[in-house]
């Protein structure tokens, strides 16, 4: 089979197309013939060596396809099942061996491409809006990077719940996308101060929750626009990590809450993983969650996919098709 392998960490050119034997499942694993693989920033971090993994490494953390073989102890899937997963390396390939308890069923209404697009970003948007801070109708949420991969999905879910959504974006084009996803208000943070704008838009009251994947450049101002007892959900650091801070700030800004969630802790059990992915697929099947699959690339063009992702010119999901 064909796979994209990294022998030595480096730039996009560190990824080479190689011919390997189709993997055999260990007792607890299933082998999946991939229909689509998601391209994520975490893949870049592994490629560069910023995140460590044994080499040589087949990249890719997210995919969807059909089960072609199962190990002797794998109970949760059978040959022929359509499945998807996230958080297991090896998806940039024609076949991948995955622990069976990390595979979730994909309903007939959802294509491989759609399933591969939402495993990481869709479940992230879901846990943020339904568990980290369960948004309620009538509440107001600020979503940073509202036209980003998670952002566009989070805006839709928050809108569907009935919350008022304020999104921040960097360009007019992205503002249109965020509005199209259901954002009630969009702040172009390159032109307006999001702190002042959010205060104005909420009549000085502040928002119930800030969903922040930007981190360093937005954190402090985010604390200033929360209502008393509001929640800062910091789930990434695209501008850099938030430095250590004095917790008394949380008191001074109004007895605020801070959490720093990650997806792994919200799909920690098989039960929760299946429930969460099922909820996301259900929204898609019902037409309540629109995906923006911006580009698909043949597997062999993984280098080009990474170059375009890192150029930050894309606004939707990138997929590799084996």
């Amino acid at each position: 089979m064909k796979a994209i392998r990294v022998k030595q960490p480096g730039g996009p050119e560190a990824m080479e197309v190689v011919e390997l034997p189709v993997p055999q499942p260990k007792p607890n694993e299933a082998v999946v013939k991939l229909g689509a693989s998601g391209v994520n920033f975490i893949d870049v971090y592994f490629r560069e060596g910023r995140y460590k993994a044994p080499l040589p490494l087949i990249l890719g953390q997210e995919g969807a396809g059909v089960v072609t073989a199962v190990g002797s102890e794998a109970r949760s899937v059978k040959v022929g099942d359509r499945v998807a997963w996230t958080g297991v390396p090896g998806a940039y390939a024609e076949y991948a061996a995955v622990p069976a308890d990390r595979l979730v069923p994909v309903p007939a209404e959802v294509s491989d491409r759609e399933a591969a697009s939402v495993m990481l970003q869709g479940m992230t948007a879901h846990y943020l809006s339904h568990d980290t801070y369960p948004l309620k109708r009538g509440e107001t949420a600020l979503v940073h990077a509202g036209a980003g991969g998670v952002g566009l999905l989070l805006v839709q879910m928050a809108h569907n719940i009935g919350a008022r959504v304020i999104a921040t974006v960097s360009t007019d084009e992205k503002a249109k996308l965020a509005r199209g996803a259901g954002a009630d208000e969009v702040i172009l943070y390159t032109q307006a101060d999001f702190e002042a704008e959010t205060k104005r838009l909420t009549g000085g009251k502040g928002v119930d929750v800030v969903y922040d994947s930007v981190g360093k450049t937005t954190f402090e101002k985010g604390l200033n626009i929360l209502r008393p007892r509001g929640m800062m959900a910091l789930f990434g650091g695209s501008s850099g990590a938030v430095p250590a801070f004095d917790p008394i700030l949380l008191t001074q800004k109004g007895s605020l809450y801070l959490t720093r969630p990650s997806l792994g802790n919200y799909i920690a059990t098989r039960e929760e993983l299946v429930a969460r992915s099922g909820a996301v697929f259900g929204m898609m099947a019902a037409g309540k969650l629109k995906l923006r699959i911006e580009h698909t690339y043949p597997l062999a063009e993984a280098q080009r996919a990474h170059r375009e992702l890192e150029g930050r010119k894309t606004t939707g999901k990138l997929l590799l098709i084996p």
Partner: protein
């Protein structure tokens, strides 16, 4: 009138009994003849300079008494009403003026001693278990300083909710008090490591919530005794301020939440203040909440009350009888 006056910040001895004029209420204020004043650790922090104050001043933030005069625009109280309050500086005196919206009615079934003893500690315990983290039956909570002023009340309220409660205390004598209040498990932290004990008592799962008024000394270990997505509520810092916090730690330890709360944000509106005090006085009147008054002192002996409080030998509330 007689009052305790502080002319320069320092040890307990800077509190001297003085003869000062009775204050006059402004149009939106009421004048109260104080029956009982509560002694709180914050009074010590203002007295010795850890918190700033405008000199000279009369200490004391909490008390109960009878309205003897009202300003021209006062609507919510009238002369003769029995009232209690927290947050009105100047309560170590025979009279105090307070904005009317800070005064709450005291039912006949509650004595001045009970009312004054319950305002800060009782309202704090109430917002912690009902709002800061809404404790549910079947959850497990860790309460530090479980035989302290807030601790003993919090333990009783948690018990009434049906939660399992683990308390930490410094001595066997305090352990007995915490058990009598309803703690299921008590850790004497002076001879047992609370991290190891909590893990043992929860079979390694950790607690749903930690209520911490200790701060610096307990912070790091607190992060190790919570379940995935557990909540740390810091409401005080008797051991000193918590040092700078790297938000990434909350992620590494299991997508944890932290809040750094203060009572004022949980009694911010008149409606919330009244609802909370009414719930609190109701529990006391029905005998569901026992307020432990450790010792009472004449007003003139305020300095001795501070010495006893700061010697950490008392378990329960200290009051000045005016």
């Amino acid at each position: 009138m007689k009052a305790i006056r502080v002319e320069h910040q320092g040890g307990p001895e800077v509190m001297e009994l003085a003869e000062v004029p009775i204050p006059q209420p402004k149009p939106t204020e009421a004048l109260v003849r104080i029956g009982v004043a509560g002694v709180n650790s914050i009074d010590g922090q203002i007295r010795d300079g850890r918190l700033r104050a405008v000199l000279p001043f009369i200490p004391g933030q909490e008390g109960a008494g009878v309205v003897t005069a009202v300003g021209g625009q006062v609507k919510t109280v009238k002369i003769g009403d029995r009232v209690a309050w927290s947050g009105a500086l100047g309560s170590y005196a025979e009279y105090v003026v307070s904005p009317e919206e800070h005064l709450v009615p005291v039912p006949d079934s509650i004595s001045d001693e009970q009312a004054a003893a319950a305002m800060i500690h009782g309202l704090t315990a109430h917002y912690l278990v009902n709002d800061a983290h809404k404790l549910k039956a079947g959850e497990t909570a860790l309460v530090h300083a479980a035989a302290g002023g807030v601790g003993l009340l919090l333990v009783q309220m948690a018990r009434a909710i049906g939660a399992r409660l683990i308390g930490t205390v410094s001595s066997d004598e305090k352990a007995e008090l915490a058990r009598a209040a309803g703690a299921d498990e008590v850790i004497v932290f002076t001879r047992q490591d609370f991290e190891a004990e909590v893990k043992r008592l929860t079979d390694g799962k950790g607690v749903d919530v930690v209520y911490d008024g200790v701060g610096k000394a307990t912070f790091e270990k607190n992060l190790n005794v919570m379940r995935l997505r557990g909540m740390l509520v810091i409401y005080g810092m008797s051991s000193g301020a918590v040092p700078l916090v790297d938000p990434a730690k909350l992620s590494e330890k299991g997508s944890l939440y932290m809040a750094r709360t203060t009572l004022a944000h949980f009694t911010a509106t008149r409606q919330e203040l009244l609802a909370r005090t009414s719930a609190l006085f109701g529990m006391i009147a029905e005998g569901k909440l026992k307020v432990r008054i450790a010792k009472t002192y004449p007003l003139a002996e305020a300095a001795q009350a501070h010495r006893d409080m700061e010697g950490r030998k008392v378990a329960g509330k200290l009051l000045l009888i005016v």
